[in-house]
């Protein structure tokens, strides 16, 4: 695979790397025929990011399936894993990159053992980074965006303006929606010392959103730190951000999409069984992750079908294209082999988590952050550990991706 990123797009690409860096120390580098996907998931499986650059994003994109004998198992084309820390220096000072770099080429060569990032800078300077990678199993999150009853779409500038009111140390925030108002507020745990903590709350009207659909009143709490990366990225890309979510406990997805790229950041949300004060609904019980579709087919789904449901408060500006859900339904499939992950939230790792780990999820209620998505379907069609079903159809292709081996890093 070889691709070339032009100077103008470098900033966007660099910001994508930085955004993904906030999720984890390593990321999946997955070139496919249609483009390049970068993915990452954090160690506690509570945050997942995927950025897909279509081949049109690049000045030049060339991907060929190379079949290589693989001395390991007979696996199909595999993405590889890179350490973020090795890649970040390539895209350090993103704002400066544009000025100094004419283009960046990324190439993988089956006979070599690394991925090469080459920056062609001004004055004939060429910086070459050869980065080793780890072969790994593919990663993909399973999340049915189109089944979310609540969808907001807003320009990234607005979200950035909202988040600026929270201190950079703020870990988690709560998004609370009703059909008539939207509120972001700082989240505090039950044992917080309120006499020392400053709390911030921002109230917005639904009119500020380009698209606003609230099927169910909800209050979801998610990690702000992980989100900030996406906000910076979407500002660089100048693409509006869509937010799909449901009740507390279910994941929240922040995504951006345009002709050249798509990105999704899916974050787990906190669910506390006791937490019910603001919501008129009964205490948010965590939805048990059934192995069948029914787990997701709750009554909320009906509110998703078209915009005609009377319960749904929807407002959108006339120039918006159709119903938000439909833009995703073509791509997403619900893969329902959920799997309880290890939850690693400090101080909250409940026994429930450990029980639910591995294999089919049981009815064990999750008290803390849900991990969402990791349906486990391997290419061998078995539910095993770290292998996952593809969402993006291109990844289903059978071609082999050249077996690249590791080598020295220069």
């Amino acid at each position: 695979m070889k691709c070339v990123i032009g100077a103008a797009q470098l900033r966007v690409f660099g910001r994508a790397i930085h955004a993904i860096a906030r999720i984890s120390d390593e990321f999946w580098f997955d070139p496919v025929e249609k483009g390049l996907a970068l993915r990452s998931v954090n160690s506690s499986r509570s945050a997942y990011a995927c950025v897909f650059f279509s081949s049109m994003f690049f000045q030049h994109y060339c991907w060929t399936a190379v079949s290589q004998p693989c001395h390991k198992e007979q696996q199909l084309s595999l993405p590889c894993k890179l350490i973020i820390k090795s890649v970040l220096p390539v895209f350090r000072c993103v704002n400066v990159l544009e000025r100094n770099v004419e283009r960046c080429s990324i190439s993988t060569n089956p006979s070599e053992h690394h991925i090469t990032f080459q920056l062609l800078c001004r004055h004939g300077l060429v910086k070459t980074y050869n980065l080793t990678f780890q072969e790994c199993d593919p990663l993909q999150a399973v999340f049915a965006k189109h089944m979310c009853p609540n969808i907001l779409k807003v320009h990234s500038r607005l979200l950035a303006d909202v988040m600026i009111h929270f201190p950079t140390s703020q870990e988690e925030i709560t998004l609370s929606v009703t059909p008539v108002k939207v509120c972001f507020k700082s989240y505090t745990e039950e044992d917080t010392d309120f006499s020392r903590t400053m709390l911030t709350e921002i109230q917005l009207s639904p009119e500020e959103f380009d698209y606003f659909q609230v099927g169910v009143d909800s209050e979801v709490t998610f990690c702000l730190k992980e989100l900030r990366g996406l906000l910076a990225f979407s500002e660089a890309a100048s693409v509006p951000v869509s937010i799909h979510f449901d009740r507390c406990g279910k994941p929240i997805a922040f995504s951006i999409e345009d002709l050249l790229l798509e990105a999704s950041f899916i974050l787990a949300t906190l669910c506390e069984a006791e937490k019910e004060a603001a919501s008129p609904e009964p205490a948010c019980c965590p939805q048990p992750w059934h192995s069948s579709r029914t787990g997701m087919d709750n009554p909320d789904q009906t509110s998703m079908d078209g915009a005609s449901n009377a319960d749904t408060a929807t407002s959108k500006k006339p120039q918006q294209k159709g119903n938000a859900p439909s833009m995703n339904s073509a791509k997403e499939e619900v893969k329902n082999i959920p799997r309880g992950p290890e939850r690693d939230v400090p101080g909250r790792a409940g026994a429930a988590m450990a029980e639910a780990a591995a294999g089919e999820a049981t009815e064990a209620p999750y008290e803390k952050f849900h991990s969402l998505f990791f349906g486990a379907v391997s290419y061998k069609k078995e539910a095993i550990g770290d292998t996952f079903q593809s969402l993006v159809t291109a990844s289903d292709t059978e071609e082999e991706f050249g077996a690249l081996q590791s080598s020295q890093v220069l």
Partner: protein, 284 residues
């Protein structure tokens, strides 16, 4: 006990924010005293503060469009709150182009100053950002701890040089020493000195002018008899001086300091309707 206030004018809001920023640089925690006409930010000279104390006074009418307060009791119509000024500074930081800012004393999880900033938005209804700043209510029996400090019986009173110049000098000196000596005389001369094992540096300022104090004291009137050239000096913690200078974002109308030889340096900064007094004790 109730308190509600509102600022609508952007210039007033920015000025108020600047004052809060200055206070935040000087004190981690301070007392906010509210009376019908004025606000006071007070830092008392406890050991925890390194002995430095502060008294900042502003007239509410110059900032607030609405200001209502009810003290603890009719005959003690004041409110004393302990707060972290940095929180207030942060709450006001993002209110640069606010339509209005309302401050209210509330009791949610604990006593709070709720700062509600109304921001313009693209839609017809404004965006409202609310910050709840936790405060501690100081009971009346402790109010005596926070009385206005009196002007000390100083040896020399002198106007300060341009604060920007003073700040850049002190900033560089801070890298070399923990203590700085301020000395001045009644002929308008001031020196800032540091001394270490390796080096000693003195910066001289001239023609600063000495403010005339209406002297009712016998001691003060003796200044005429005193030698105009003799320097009164005090050695103080350089960090405290640096904090004071760093917090000044706008040039004050009047800036002067009173030096009590080897005891204390008393800075007075006047800016239109705001007065700030800062006391730095001398190191023995």
């Amino acid at each position: 006990m109730r308190f509600r206030a509102k600022i609508v004018d952007l210039a007033c809001l920015n000025h108020f924010s600047r004052i809060i920023n200055t206070i935040a640089k000087l004190a981690k925690t301070c007392i906010l005293r509210l009376t019908v006409c004025k606000l006071y930010f007070i830092l008392s000279d406890k050991v925890a503060n390194g002995g430095a104390s502060m008294w900042c006074e502003l007239s509410q009418g110059n900032f607030f469009d609405e200001f209502q307060m009810e003290g603890v009791a009719a005959e003690h119509n004041e409110i004393y709150l302990e707060l972290v000024p940095e929180n207030l500074s942060r709450a006001l930081k993002t209110a640069q182009n606010a339509k209005a800012v309302k401050i209210k004393l509330t009791n949610k999880h604990c006593p709070c100053l709720s700062v509600a900033v109304e921001l313009p938005s693209l839609s017809s209804s404004s965006r409202i950002v609310t910050h709840d700043i936790p405060v501690g209510v100081i009971p009346r029996r402790m109010w005596n701890d926070f009385r206005e400090p009196s002007v000390p019986d100083f040896d020399v009173s002198i106007y300060l040089p341009a604060l920007k110049t003073m700040k850049s000098v002190v900033d560089r000196m801070k890298n070399l020493s923990n203590f700085i000596v301020i000395e001045a005389n009644l002929s308008g001369e001031m020196n800032l000195k540091i001394e270490t094992d390796l080096v000693s540096i003195t910066t001289h300022f001239k023609d600063l002018g000495n403010p005339p104090w209406a002297s009712e004291d016998d001691c003060q009137s003796n200044t005429q008899a005193r030698d105009l050239e003799s320097m009164a000096e005090a050695c103080i913690d350089i960090k405290k001086l640096q904090q004071l200078l760093a917090g000044q974002q706008v040039n004050p109308t009047k800036a002067l300091c009173n030096i009590v030889r080897k005891r204390i340096v008393h800075f007075i900064l006047l800016h239109e309707e705001v007065s700030l007094q800062y006391f730095i004790p001398a190191i023995a």
